[in-house]
């Protein structure tokens, strides 16, 4: 496997999946313990985080393009 520049998309999603898996792997928990109040904000948070990262990256790219053209 070759190394490559850090990929935030894989990192954020992977971290969330691993965290969710561990939450149910360790201890005697159920989805009811999470509560409705927690179930919806977390995916929204992840999507928001990804959208922000994606936007920031696109912004940086466009700036780099402008700098290289000028």
């Amino acid at each position: 496997m070759t190394r490559h520049p850090f990929d935030p998309f894989s990192f954020v999603l992977g971290f969330m999946f691993a965290l969710l898996g561990l939450y149910f792997l360790v201890g005697d928990r159920t989805a009811a313990d999470l509560g409705v109040g927690w179930i919806w904000p977390v995916p929204v948070l992840v999507v928001g985080l990804l959208a922000t990262l994606y936007g920031a990256r696109a912004l940086r790219r466009s700036r780099e393009r402008e700098e290289s053209s000028s």
Partner: protein
């Protein structure tokens, strides 16, 4: 930062730099998960591939959950129900079904970027020569006739649909693997038909190293889960159902985290996303996974056992054999995925404990409890007679629990020497005797 799953042909990079006319809609051959529809839409509309992928994946999850619910035979009461959300639920289901159909239609009618015609077009070329309209009408009639024939043979049951779906996924994976190998070898596995112009890329694709990380992580996840199951079967430990998908989800998540620095495994997001609802539902199953698969049924003439278990199926216990007796009984029943219905005799004293991971519990006139982690511990005294005491210990993982009482018959009332008014008799479904009128 470098975008990983995007195209990297010089032509496309050039397209990004300068505004160019919108690309013709084609399914992607590279960087695809299923049929390349999302990639094609992203190229066509100039948006991130994440947008159509997330939308179609969400729709597929909703449709899969609907099928799962129909397959396991749960009614609307088995899930959290709020009438205020009816409209939203209907909208979600309709939009998801339409999205899945649109995906399938695009798969069939949109050509791949290395082919001149779509799957539907190739199929039409293989059919005997006919005018366009006649050929399509012929195909429509074939599909319609096949559907009606399948319905007559009872092939449209949810079980059969599931089976076809799984076979289809298997065939798809094999085909994709074969196509990928052929593409890596420098040519497409699917050759264009004679006389059909094939689409040829104007610029050569840049060579891209295929990362083994995704398959490695998937393999490790499957090995870990199956190994754990074998150890549990050997009696090494006792695990709840949720541990298995949670274990797989943890491995997939860890693999994606590794993929943030080395290797490429973004596609692991899809199996991980599909696992999330499975983990949430499985976490609600606390009953022992024993008893095999299938329904358990006790009719009035059958022997009554102290225990009934099933993993997948329903349990129906008609305890009328205990009517007008003083044979006290304790009965335990559990269904990991399925409902439990118990009918007690009219004269029985009932002590019932019902637990449902996700569903409804109702014992006689007591208010029903619905939702996640529902538990009810109650007694129910008879209106007539003084019969056996029946202690019920009932549990479901995902499914409802209902306990009813059978009404006494005219003969039962006569045996007990109970006289009721005409109105009370009618309430019990007994026609009042002529002499009483």
């Amino acid at each position: 930062m470098r975008r990983m799953d995007e195209d990297r042909t010089p032509a496309r990079l050039e397209q990004r730099a300068e505004p160019t006319p919108r690309r013709r809609l084609r399914r992607r051959v590279h960087d695809r998960v299923v049929a390349g529809v999302c990639g094609g839409l992203a190229d066509h509309f100039g948006v991130s591939m994440l947008v159509p992928r997330v939308a179609f994946a969400a729709a597929a999850i909703v449709v899969a959950l609907l099928f799962l619910r129909a397959w396991l035979g749960f009614g609307p009461s088995a899930i959290y129900y709020d009438p205020r959300l009816d409209g939203l639920r209907m909208l979600t289901v309709t939009a998801s079904a339409i999205a899945v159909l649109v995906y399938l239609a695009l798969w069939v009618f949109v050509p791949a970027e290395n082919q001149g015609t779509s799957a539907a077009g190739r199929l039409r070329h293989r059919l005997p020569p006919a005018s366009g309209l006649r050929a399509w009408l012929g195909m429509l009639s074939l599909v319609g006739g096949g559907s009606v024939f399948g319905a007559q043979l009872g092939l449209w049951s949810v079980d059969v649909v599931w089976a076809f779906l799984l076979i289809g996924i298997g065939v798809l994976l094999f085909r994709r693997d074969a196509e990928r190998r052929a593409l890596d070898g420098g040519r497409s596995a699917v050759q264009p038909e004679a006389g059909v112009p094939a689409w040829e890329p104007s610029t050569p694709e840049l060579p891209r190293e295929r990362s083994p990380l995704g398959w490695l992580v998937l393999g490790v996840a499957l090995l870990v889960v199956s190994g754990t199951a074998i150890l549990q079967n050997l009696g090494a430990f006792e695990l709840r159902l949720v541990r298995y998908p949670a274990l797989a989800l943890t491995v997939l998540g860890a693999g994606m985290v590794v993929g943030a620095w080395a290797g490429r495994a973004r596609w692991l997001m899809l199996p991980a996303l599909l696992l999330v609802p499975v983990v949430l539902l499985a976490s609600l199953v606390r009953v022992p996974l024993v008893g095999g698969v299938g329904d358990r049924r006790v009719d009035p003439g059958s022997d009554i056992l102290p225990e009934y278990r099933t993993v997948l199926g329903s349990i129906y216990l008609d305890l009328d054999a205990l009517r007008l007796t003083d044979m006290d009984r304790t009965i335990r029943a559990s269904a990991a995925f399925g409902t439990i219905n118990v009918v007690v005799p009219f004269d029985a004293h009932v002590r019932a404990t019902g637990r449902a991971g996700l569903g409804t519990v109702q014992v006689g006139p007591h208010p029903l409890e619905t939702g996640a982690e529902v538990e009810l511990d109650t007694t129910w005294e008879p209106r007539f007679g003084d019969g056996a005491t029946i202690t019920l210990d009932l549990a479901t993982g995902i499914g409802d629990i209902w306990v009813y009482r059978r009404d006494p018959t005219r003969r039962d009332l006569r045996e007990l020497g109970i006289k009721l008014s005409d109105r009370e008799l009618r309430e019990l479904g007994i026609r009042p005797p002529r002499s009483d009128r």
